[in-house]
Protein backbone atom coordinates (compact mmCIF):
# COMPACT_ATOMS: atom_id res chain seq x y z
CA UNK A 1 0.00 0.00 0.00
CA UNK A 2 2.73 2.43 0.94
CA UNK A 3 4.51 1.75 -2.34
CA UNK A 4 1.33 2.95 -4.02
CA UNK A 5 1.51 6.12 -1.93
CA UNK A 6 5.02 6.75 -3.17
CA UNK A 7 3.90 6.01 -6.72
CA UNK A 8 1.09 8.57 -6.36
CA UNK A 9 3.39 11.18 -4.82
CA UNK A 10 5.86 10.92 -7.70
CA UNK A 11 3.17 10.86 -10.35
CA UNK A 12 1.56 13.93 -8.78
CA UNK A 13 4.87 15.76 -8.51
CA UNK A 14 4.72 16.04 -4.71
CA UNK A 15 8.40 16.07 -3.69
CA UNK A 16 7.77 16.57 0.03
CA UNK A 17 5.38 13.63 0.17
CA UNK A 18 7.65 11.46 -1.95
CA UNK A 19 10.55 12.07 0.40
CA UNK A 20 8.56 11.40 3.57
CA UNK A 21 7.01 8.20 2.20
CA UNK A 22 10.44 7.03 1.06
CA UNK A 23 11.81 7.65 4.56
CA UNK A 24 8.97 5.59 6.04
CA UNK A 25 9.61 2.76 3.58
CA UNK A 26 13.30 2.74 4.45
CA UNK A 27 12.44 2.66 8.17
CA UNK A 28 10.21 -0.32 7.48
CA UNK A 29 13.24 -2.03 5.95
CA UNK A 30 11.93 -1.84 2.43
CA UNK A 31 14.60 -2.92 0.00
CA UNK A 32 16.06 -0.22 -2.20
CA UNK A 33 15.46 -2.27 -5.33
CA UNK A 34 11.87 -2.91 -4.31
CA UNK A 35 11.21 0.80 -3.76
CA UNK A 36 12.89 1.72 -7.02
CA UNK A 37 11.28 -0.94 -9.16
CA UNK A 38 7.98 -1.15 -7.30
CA UNK A 39 7.13 2.54 -7.16
CA UNK A 40 9.59 5.07 -8.57
CA UNK A 41 10.32 3.67 -12.03
CA UNK A 42 6.69 2.63 -12.71
CA UNK A 43 5.51 6.09 -11.62
CA UNK A 44 7.93 7.80 -14.01
CA UNK A 45 6.98 5.38 -16.78
CA UNK A 46 3.33 6.29 -16.27
CA UNK A 47 4.21 9.99 -16.28
CA UNK A 48 6.06 9.48 -19.57
CA UNK A 49 3.06 7.68 -21.07
CA UNK A 50 0.68 10.44 -19.96
CA UNK A 51 3.02 13.02 -21.51
CA UNK A 52 3.07 11.07 -24.76
CA UNK A 53 -0.73 11.01 -24.73
CA UNK A 54 -0.77 14.78 -24.11
CA UNK A 55 -2.69 14.20 -20.91
CA UNK A 56 0.01 16.13 -19.03
CA UNK A 57 2.78 18.47 -20.22
CA UNK A 58 6.45 19.05 -19.64
CA UNK A 59 6.18 21.11 -16.40
CA UNK A 60 4.13 18.27 -14.87
CA UNK A 61 6.76 15.75 -15.98
CA UNK A 62 9.51 17.86 -14.44
CA UNK A 63 7.60 18.16 -11.17
CA UNK A 64 7.42 14.36 -11.14
CA UNK A 65 11.16 14.22 -11.84
CA UNK A 66 11.75 16.54 -8.90
CA UNK A 67 9.70 14.24 -6.65
CA UNK A 68 11.61 11.24 -7.98
CA UNK A 69 14.89 12.98 -7.24
CA UNK A 70 13.77 13.80 -3.70
CA UNK A 71 13.09 10.13 -3.13
CA UNK A 72 16.30 9.00 -4.82
CA UNK A 73 18.28 11.32 -2.55
CA UNK A 74 17.36 9.06 0.36
CA UNK A 75 17.57 5.88 -1.64
CA UNK A 76 20.93 6.25 -3.35
CA UNK A 77 23.12 5.12 -0.42
CA UNK A 78 20.95 2.01 -0.14
CA UNK A 79 21.09 1.33 -3.86
CA UNK A 80 24.88 1.43 -3.61
CA UNK A 81 24.87 -0.75 -0.50
CA UNK A 82 22.56 -3.29 -2.10
CA UNK A 83 24.53 -3.11 -5.36
CA UNK A 84 21.41 -2.35 -7.37
CA UNK A 85 22.82 -1.68 -10.82
CA UNK A 86 22.04 1.52 -12.73
CA UNK A 87 20.01 1.06 -15.90
CA UNK A 88 23.06 2.26 -17.80
CA UNK A 89 25.49 5.15 -18.01
CA UNK A 90 25.04 8.12 -20.32
CA UNK A 91 27.51 10.89 -21.05
CA UNK A 92 25.71 14.09 -21.95
CA UNK A 93 26.71 17.59 -23.01
CA UNK A 94 26.11 20.56 -25.28
CA UNK A 95 28.35 20.47 -28.33
CA UNK A 96 31.31 22.68 -29.12
CA UNK A 97 30.33 26.28 -29.77
CA UNK A 98 27.01 26.14 -27.96
CA UNK A 99 26.34 27.39 -24.44
CA UNK A 100 22.63 26.62 -24.18
CA UNK A 101 22.14 23.96 -21.57
CA UNK A 102 18.60 24.01 -20.18
CA UNK A 103 17.40 21.24 -22.52
CA UNK A 104 20.43 19.13 -21.76
CA UNK A 105 19.92 19.68 -18.01
CA UNK A 106 16.31 18.54 -18.26
CA UNK A 107 17.28 15.40 -20.14
CA UNK A 108 19.96 14.73 -17.54
CA UNK A 109 17.44 14.95 -14.70
CA UNK A 110 14.91 12.80 -16.56
CA UNK A 111 17.52 10.13 -17.23
CA UNK A 112 18.52 10.07 -13.57
CA UNK A 113 14.85 9.72 -12.72
CA UNK A 114 14.69 6.70 -14.99
CA UNK A 115 17.53 5.02 -13.15
CA UNK A 116 20.48 5.95 -15.36
CA UNK A 117 23.84 7.19 -14.17
CA UNK A 118 24.51 10.47 -15.98
CA UNK A 119 27.89 12.10 -16.53
CA UNK A 120 27.02 15.70 -17.41
CA UNK A 121 29.94 17.39 -19.14
CA UNK A 122 28.27 20.81 -19.34
CA UNK A 123 28.29 23.00 -22.43
CA UNK A 124 30.72 23.89 -25.25
CA UNK A 125 32.25 20.39 -25.30
CA UNK A 126 34.86 19.23 -27.83
CA UNK A 127 34.18 16.05 -29.81
CA UNK A 128 36.94 13.97 -28.25
CA UNK A 129 35.98 15.11 -24.74
CA UNK A 130 32.61 13.37 -25.18
CA UNK A 131 34.33 10.17 -26.23
CA UNK A 132 37.04 10.24 -23.59
CA UNK A 133 34.43 10.79 -20.87
CA UNK A 134 32.31 7.92 -22.20
CA UNK A 135 35.26 5.55 -22.19
CA UNK A 136 36.29 6.65 -18.71
CA UNK A 137 32.77 6.23 -17.30
CA UNK A 138 32.17 3.00 -19.26
CA UNK A 139 29.10 4.65 -20.78
CA UNK A 140 27.34 3.11 -23.71
CA UNK A 141 25.47 6.21 -24.86
CA UNK A 142 26.58 9.76 -25.66
CA UNK A 143 23.82 12.39 -25.64
CA UNK A 144 24.42 15.66 -27.47
CA UNK A 145 22.45 18.88 -27.42
CA UNK A 146 22.58 22.02 -29.58
CA UNK A 147 20.28 25.00 -29.95
CA UNK A 148 21.71 26.71 -33.01
CA UNK A 149 21.66 25.61 -36.61
CA UNK A 150 25.30 26.61 -36.82
CA UNK A 151 26.44 24.59 -33.83
CA UNK A 152 24.41 21.45 -34.44
CA UNK A 153 27.02 20.44 -36.99
CA UNK A 154 29.27 19.83 -33.98
CA UNK A 155 27.25 16.66 -33.39
CA UNK A 156 28.42 15.20 -36.67
CA UNK A 157 32.01 15.91 -35.60
CA UNK A 158 31.51 13.74 -32.50
CA UNK A 159 30.03 10.90 -34.54
CA UNK A 160 32.86 11.10 -37.07
CA UNK A 161 35.40 10.93 -34.26
CA UNK A 162 33.65 7.84 -32.83
CA UNK A 163 33.97 6.18 -36.23
CA UNK A 164 37.57 7.33 -36.68
CA UNK A 165 38.51 5.92 -33.28
CA UNK A 166 36.90 2.56 -34.11
CA UNK A 167 34.27 2.83 -31.37
CA UNK A 168 31.09 2.57 -33.43
CA UNK A 169 30.17 -0.80 -31.93
CA UNK A 170 30.76 0.40 -28.40
CA UNK A 171 29.21 3.87 -28.29
CA UNK A 172 25.71 4.88 -29.35
CA UNK A 173 24.72 8.49 -29.92
CA UNK A 174 21.52 10.39 -29.34
CA UNK A 175 20.94 13.99 -30.38
CA UNK A 176 18.39 16.65 -29.49
CA UNK A 177 17.75 20.37 -29.52
CA UNK A 178 15.24 22.85 -30.90
CA UNK A 179 16.55 23.16 -34.48
CA UNK A 180 17.08 19.42 -35.01
CA UNK A 181 14.95 17.00 -36.95
CA UNK A 182 14.86 13.23 -37.25
CA UNK A 183 16.06 13.67 -40.81
CA UNK A 184 19.12 15.63 -39.69
CA UNK A 185 19.88 13.01 -37.03
CA UNK A 186 19.75 10.26 -39.65
CA UNK A 187 21.95 12.22 -42.05
CA UNK A 188 24.74 12.70 -39.54
CA UNK A 189 24.57 9.05 -38.49
CA UNK A 190 23.16 9.48 -34.98
CA UNK A 191 21.63 6.35 -33.48
CA UNK A 192 18.76 8.23 -31.89
CA UNK A 193 16.88 11.52 -32.02
CA UNK A 194 14.88 12.95 -29.13
CA UNK A 195 12.54 15.87 -29.73
CA UNK A 196 11.95 16.25 -25.99
CA UNK A 197 13.23 15.12 -22.59
CA UNK A 198 10.69 12.31 -22.21
CA UNK A 199 11.45 10.72 -25.56
CA UNK A 200 15.17 11.05 -24.74
CA UNK A 201 14.64 8.54 -21.93
CA UNK A 202 12.77 6.17 -24.25
CA UNK A 203 15.47 6.48 -26.91
CA UNK A 204 18.27 5.84 -24.43
CA UNK A 205 16.39 2.81 -23.09
CA UNK A 206 16.15 1.44 -26.63
CA UNK A 207 19.83 2.12 -27.34
CA UNK A 208 21.03 0.52 -24.11
CA UNK A 209 18.92 -2.57 -24.86
CA UNK A 210 20.58 -3.08 -28.26
Amino acid sequence: MILQELHAAVEGGDAIRARSVTATLIEQAGGAGEILNGALLPAMALVGARFRDRDIFLPDVLLAARAMKASLGLLEPLLLRDAVPAAGTVVIGTVRGDLHDIGKNLVSIMLQGAGYRVVDLGSDIEADAFIDAALHAEASVIGMSALLTTTMTGMEAVIQRIVARGLSDQLRTIVGGAPLSANFAREIGADGFAPDAVSAVEQVRALVAR
Partner: protein, 222 residues
Protein backbone atom coordinates in the same frame (compact mmCIF):
# COMPACT_ATOMS: atom_id res chain seq x y z
CA UNK B 1 21.28 52.68 -24.27
CA UNK B 2 17.59 51.96 -23.93
CA UNK B 3 16.54 50.70 -20.53
CA UNK B 4 13.28 48.88 -19.97
CA UNK B 5 11.63 47.73 -16.79
CA UNK B 6 10.94 44.03 -16.31
CA UNK B 7 7.21 44.57 -16.81
CA UNK B 8 7.86 46.07 -20.28
CA UNK B 9 8.91 42.68 -21.60
CA UNK B 10 6.93 40.48 -19.22
CA UNK B 11 5.52 37.67 -21.36
CA UNK B 12 1.84 36.87 -21.30
CA UNK B 13 0.79 33.61 -19.69
CA UNK B 14 -0.61 32.45 -23.03
CA UNK B 15 2.78 32.96 -24.71
CA UNK B 16 4.66 31.17 -21.92
CA UNK B 17 2.28 28.22 -21.99
CA UNK B 18 2.52 28.01 -25.79
CA UNK B 19 6.31 28.06 -25.65
CA UNK B 20 6.18 25.25 -23.07
CA UNK B 21 4.08 23.20 -25.46
CA UNK B 22 0.87 23.46 -23.44
CA UNK B 23 -2.10 23.96 -25.77
CA UNK B 24 -4.63 26.71 -25.05
CA UNK B 25 -7.41 24.17 -24.43
CA UNK B 26 -5.52 22.39 -21.64
CA UNK B 27 -6.39 23.39 -18.07
CA UNK B 28 -3.51 24.82 -16.06
CA UNK B 29 -3.05 22.59 -13.03
CA UNK B 30 -2.57 24.18 -9.58
CA UNK B 31 1.03 22.96 -9.51
CA UNK B 32 1.84 24.56 -12.87
CA UNK B 33 -0.04 27.70 -11.83
CA UNK B 34 2.22 27.92 -8.77
CA UNK B 35 5.30 27.54 -10.99
CA UNK B 36 4.07 30.30 -13.29
CA UNK B 37 3.42 32.66 -10.38
CA UNK B 38 6.81 31.95 -8.83
CA UNK B 39 8.59 32.45 -12.16
CA UNK B 40 6.73 35.72 -12.81
CA UNK B 41 7.71 37.03 -9.38
CA UNK B 42 11.33 35.98 -9.95
CA UNK B 43 11.27 37.66 -13.34
CA UNK B 44 10.07 41.00 -11.96
CA UNK B 45 12.71 40.87 -9.25
CA UNK B 46 15.68 39.79 -11.35
CA UNK B 47 15.28 40.96 -14.95
CA UNK B 48 17.30 43.95 -16.14
CA UNK B 49 16.23 44.38 -19.78
CA UNK B 50 18.19 46.87 -21.85
CA UNK B 51 19.32 47.34 -25.40
CA UNK B 52 21.11 49.45 -28.00
CA UNK B 53 20.24 50.50 -31.55
CA UNK B 54 22.38 52.01 -34.30
CA UNK B 55 21.22 53.07 -37.75
CA UNK B 56 23.30 51.71 -40.63
CA UNK B 57 23.28 52.16 -44.38
CA UNK B 58 22.73 49.27 -46.75
CA UNK B 59 26.37 49.57 -47.88
CA UNK B 60 27.71 49.40 -44.34
CA UNK B 61 25.48 46.47 -43.52
CA UNK B 62 26.68 44.66 -46.63
CA UNK B 63 30.19 44.62 -45.13
CA UNK B 64 28.92 43.56 -41.72
CA UNK B 65 26.77 40.84 -43.23
CA UNK B 66 29.67 39.46 -45.22
CA UNK B 67 31.38 38.87 -41.88
CA UNK B 68 34.02 36.21 -42.15
CA UNK B 69 32.68 34.83 -45.42
CA UNK B 70 31.01 31.80 -43.90
CA UNK B 71 27.37 32.54 -44.75
CA UNK B 72 25.42 30.11 -46.90
CA UNK B 73 25.75 30.77 -50.62
CA UNK B 74 22.17 32.00 -50.80
CA UNK B 75 20.24 33.39 -47.82
CA UNK B 76 16.94 35.20 -47.31
CA UNK B 77 18.55 38.25 -45.72
CA UNK B 78 20.87 38.96 -48.65
CA UNK B 79 17.81 39.65 -50.79
CA UNK B 80 15.80 41.32 -48.01
CA UNK B 81 18.14 44.02 -46.73
CA UNK B 82 18.87 45.73 -50.10
CA UNK B 83 15.14 46.45 -50.52
CA UNK B 84 14.67 47.80 -46.97
CA UNK B 85 13.50 51.34 -46.24
CA UNK B 86 15.83 51.55 -43.27
CA UNK B 87 18.24 49.35 -41.33
CA UNK B 88 19.54 49.35 -37.77
CA UNK B 89 21.83 47.15 -35.78
CA UNK B 90 20.50 46.07 -32.40
CA UNK B 91 21.52 44.20 -29.29
CA UNK B 92 19.61 43.55 -26.09
CA UNK B 93 19.82 41.47 -22.95
CA UNK B 94 17.78 40.69 -19.90
CA UNK B 95 20.95 40.51 -17.81
CA UNK B 96 22.72 37.76 -15.92
CA UNK B 97 20.67 37.47 -12.77
CA UNK B 98 17.81 35.47 -14.28
CA UNK B 99 20.30 33.07 -15.87
CA UNK B 100 22.05 32.57 -12.54
CA UNK B 101 18.73 31.78 -10.89
CA UNK B 102 17.90 29.20 -13.58
CA UNK B 103 21.26 27.52 -13.01
CA UNK B 104 20.62 27.56 -9.28
CA UNK B 105 17.30 25.77 -9.70
CA UNK B 106 18.86 23.18 -12.03
CA UNK B 107 21.64 22.54 -9.52
CA UNK B 108 19.16 22.27 -6.67
CA UNK B 109 17.18 19.56 -8.43
CA UNK B 110 14.21 21.75 -9.31
CA UNK B 111 13.99 21.30 -13.08
CA UNK B 112 10.35 22.37 -13.25
CA UNK B 113 10.96 25.86 -11.90
CA UNK B 114 14.19 26.11 -13.92
CA UNK B 115 12.28 25.23 -17.08
CA UNK B 116 9.41 27.64 -16.44
CA UNK B 117 11.76 30.52 -15.58
CA UNK B 118 13.89 29.70 -18.62
CA UNK B 119 10.77 29.76 -20.78
CA UNK B 120 9.80 33.11 -19.26
CA UNK B 121 13.27 34.45 -20.03
CA UNK B 122 13.30 33.15 -23.61
CA UNK B 123 9.89 34.59 -24.34
CA UNK B 124 10.88 37.88 -22.73
CA UNK B 125 14.07 38.03 -24.82
CA UNK B 126 11.96 37.70 -27.97
CA UNK B 127 9.72 40.41 -26.61
CA UNK B 128 12.78 42.58 -25.97
CA UNK B 129 13.73 42.30 -29.64
CA UNK B 130 10.18 43.38 -30.50
CA UNK B 131 10.44 46.35 -28.12
CA UNK B 132 13.69 47.40 -29.74
CA UNK B 133 12.03 47.05 -33.14
CA UNK B 134 9.23 49.33 -31.88
CA UNK B 135 11.84 51.83 -30.78
CA UNK B 136 13.11 51.95 -34.36
CA UNK B 137 10.84 54.94 -34.90
CA UNK B 138 8.58 55.64 -37.78
CA UNK B 139 8.63 52.24 -39.43
CA UNK B 140 5.47 50.18 -39.44
CA UNK B 141 6.88 46.81 -40.44
CA UNK B 142 10.13 46.01 -38.73
CA UNK B 143 11.52 42.51 -38.25
CA UNK B 144 14.70 41.46 -36.46
CA UNK B 145 17.15 39.09 -38.20
CA UNK B 146 19.98 37.44 -36.30
CA UNK B 147 23.29 35.77 -37.04
CA UNK B 148 23.18 32.06 -36.39
CA UNK B 149 19.89 31.63 -38.24
CA UNK B 150 18.76 31.13 -41.84
CA UNK B 151 22.20 30.94 -43.39
CA UNK B 152 23.69 34.00 -41.65
CA UNK B 153 26.66 32.32 -40.03
CA UNK B 154 27.11 32.85 -36.31
CA UNK B 155 30.65 34.13 -36.96
CA UNK B 156 28.91 37.22 -38.37
CA UNK B 157 28.44 38.22 -34.72
CA UNK B 158 32.04 39.44 -34.64
CA UNK B 159 31.52 42.10 -37.33
CA UNK B 160 28.15 42.99 -35.83
CA UNK B 161 29.63 43.43 -32.37
CA UNK B 162 32.51 45.51 -33.72
CA UNK B 163 29.98 47.82 -35.34
CA UNK B 164 27.56 48.17 -32.44
CA UNK B 165 29.72 47.38 -29.39
CA UNK B 166 27.13 46.22 -26.83
CA UNK B 167 29.68 45.93 -24.03
CA UNK B 168 28.02 48.94 -22.36
CA UNK B 169 24.91 46.88 -21.79
CA UNK B 170 26.92 43.92 -20.58
CA UNK B 171 26.89 41.61 -23.60
CA UNK B 172 30.09 39.87 -24.62
CA UNK B 173 30.90 37.31 -27.28
CA UNK B 174 32.76 34.14 -26.48
CA UNK B 175 35.25 32.54 -28.86
CA UNK B 176 32.40 30.56 -30.43
CA UNK B 177 30.57 33.82 -31.20
CA UNK B 178 27.79 33.12 -28.74
CA UNK B 179 26.51 35.86 -26.50
CA UNK B 180 26.88 35.96 -22.77
CA UNK B 181 24.45 36.39 -21.00
CA UNK B 182 22.73 33.67 -23.01
CA UNK B 183 19.37 35.41 -22.84
CA UNK B 184 20.52 38.14 -25.17
CA UNK B 185 19.55 39.01 -28.69
CA UNK B 186 21.33 40.85 -31.48
CA UNK B 187 21.17 41.39 -35.19
CA UNK B 188 19.68 43.62 -37.81
CA UNK B 189 16.34 45.41 -37.78
CA UNK B 190 14.90 45.63 -41.26
CA UNK B 191 12.13 48.16 -41.93
CA UNK B 192 10.06 47.99 -45.03
CA UNK B 193 6.69 47.11 -46.44
CA UNK B 194 5.32 43.59 -46.22
CA UNK B 195 6.90 42.61 -49.53
CA UNK B 196 10.35 43.52 -48.19
CA UNK B 197 10.27 40.60 -45.79
CA UNK B 198 8.81 37.95 -48.05
CA UNK B 199 10.86 35.01 -49.34
CA UNK B 200 10.31 31.39 -50.25
CA UNK B 201 11.62 29.15 -47.45
CA UNK B 202 13.22 26.64 -49.79
CA UNK B 203 16.92 27.12 -49.08
CA UNK B 204 19.05 24.02 -48.45
CA UNK B 205 19.27 24.82 -44.73
CA UNK B 206 15.45 25.02 -44.50
CA UNK B 207 15.34 21.22 -44.78
CA UNK B 208 17.03 20.91 -41.41
CA UNK B 209 14.97 23.64 -39.74
CA UNK B 210 12.54 22.24 -37.18
CA UNK B 211 10.70 25.47 -36.37
CA UNK B 212 9.95 27.27 -39.69
CA UNK B 213 9.28 30.39 -37.64
CA UNK B 214 9.96 32.44 -40.76
CA UNK B 215 6.47 31.66 -42.05
CA UNK B 216 4.77 33.15 -38.98
CA UNK B 217 7.12 36.13 -39.11
CA UNK B 218 6.26 36.85 -42.73
CA UNK B 219 2.55 36.57 -41.94
CA UNK B 220 2.96 38.92 -38.97
CA UNK B 221 4.01 41.84 -41.19
CA UNK B 222 1.36 41.40 -43.88
Amino acid sequence: MIRFIAADVLPTEVDVLRRMGIPSYAPVTPAVRKLLNTAAAQWIELAEPRGVLRDVSSEEFALIYRGEGQNAVATPLQTIYPRAEALALFAGTIGERVEQEIQKYCGAGDPALAFVLDTFASEATSRLADRLASAFNGHARVLPYSAGYCGWHVSGQRALFTAIDPSDIGIALNESCLMKPIKSVSGMLVAGDAATHQFRPAFPFCEDCATHECVARMISVR
